[in-house]
Subunit: 269 residues, 2 copies
């Protein structure tokens, strides 16, 4: 089954479009885990157990693992192993390099780490992306319009034909999507753009960060970013779920926040 | 001392603008290392020992380490430890994320791994880059015009004011370079552009990949990409040096190729 169909199927069977960002920060771990042998892994395990029922995908961002050095990659591998088979495992890595090198990254994330998908940066163009598209069951979410302030620096600059750079990027991504395994990263901080973007890329899934700590607008995100008959978007929340509480109830509260986000999204559909 | 001055000083004191790309590939290792306990580390150690005299910098590309999973990061850390203090350690990682996340990557590469510099992708704009610029002694090389075919997809597309995207990127990078620790990645496959680029960014260092296997033009690269009185560029070669031979003479041959590249660059100056 191709990756984009896997996204639709997972969202449908879980009745959830929630993606939980597993961006662990040692300084924010609950006191109660302080005496654990491995507080980071214990934290991720409890968060995953408490949220998995309400979640279609997990998205560990590699930066939060690389901060620990070699040890962090062990955390990353073990965290992936904790996830059940009914969720998508998305490596938020924003990789992209010349073809020869992207091939190695694809091997790393799809074979060695066995992730289902990876986020990519499009700046280096087609041959930096295509090595990730060889397996139809594995997918990519390519940065198109991101949730941060810096998205105005280049992505929202006008090209010679009057379009924004991100529109040119989306057009190219459409042309690369031969095996139906390309998706887009579109930040929830730009809900006014979603309607136009859906016209450019009607049939491919979005990964939508920027809800919660970054202030994105959930209602308009769902209204304009989603496709009604076939839910084609994953809404990510990281800090808003995993750090909902730093007390002994941290896992329970994370589960509640994941459930709440799931229900809010579903209520807007 | 700020990073860009460190680049100039290192090139001057080593009388070399050579950067060796330590992109290890298990399938290409010499037979003679097959029975080593750790062929990858032994290979890197011998390559570093044979080339360090002729080299201003080493640039391990993370993809080639991530392909091994957790083990690969141990290789990466140990490989960095093998390098002497008279060379620059550049993590070719092409990272870049929202500010909060880039901060973690900066910590990972500058503190945990103790690299001197990292390569970044500019697509997410200013707040994805600035967390890497806090320490003046550590630097970044930001993708501007890359050596691959895909550089035509976006980087060489025209903006509404008639400039290319990469020119806008360079203009922004200049404005971020407050602590004199920003450099550019400019591929040697575009030597005809170097003259114009040097006018846009006269005083900042370039990291120049694309020589060797990718077919870049060394003479014109040096003629137009370098600055005469103060050598402001590192020319990277990976496969052309480290896989010069797969026989028992692999390290000796790598040293010869590094020396040859150093001497050719110096002869064009």
């Amino acid at each position: 089954m191709d990756f984009n169909k896997r996204v639709v199927d997972t969202i449908r069977s879980k009745r959830s479009a929630v993606c939980v960002g597993l961006d662990v920060e040692p300084g924010k771990l609950p006191q109660i885990l302080k005496n654990e042998k491995d507080p980071v892994l214990k934290f991720n395990k409890e968060i995953i157990e408490a949220t998995q029922e309400f979640t279609a995908a997990y998205k560990p961002n590699l930066a939060f693992y690389e901060q620990f050095g070699t040890k962090g990659f062990e955390y990353f591998e073990k965290t992936l192993d904790m996830m059940g088979g009914d969720v998508l495992k998305i490596a938020d890595a924003k990789r992209g390099d010349i073809g020869n090198t992207s091939k190695k990254y694809a091997h790393a994330f799809f074979e060695t780490f066995n992730c289902d998908a990876i986020t990519l940066s499009p700046y280096m163009g087609e041959d930096s992306v295509t090595p990730f598209l060889e397996r139809e069951d594995k997918g990519v979410f390519i940065l198109a319009l991101t949730s941060n302030r810096g998205s105005f620096d280049f992505q929202m600059q006008k090209m010679s034909d009057g379009r924004f750079l991100y529109e040119i990027v989306i057009e190219k991504i459409n042309s690369w999507n031969i095996k139906n395994n390309c998706g887009l990263v579109i930040g929830a901080t730009h809900p006014q753009m979603f309607e136009g973007i859906r016209k450019l890329a009607p049939g491919i899934p979005y990964l939508i960060p920027g809800i919660g700590a970054q202030g994105g607008d959930l209602e308009n995100t769902v209204k304009y970013g989603f496709v009604k008959d076939e839910v084609l978007a994953l809404v990510n929340s990281s800090r808003g779920i995993i750090f909902a509480s730093d007390g002994p109830d941290f896992a329970e509260r994370a589960g509640e926040e994941a459930k709440k986000l799931r229900d809010m999204i579903n209520s807007y559909l």
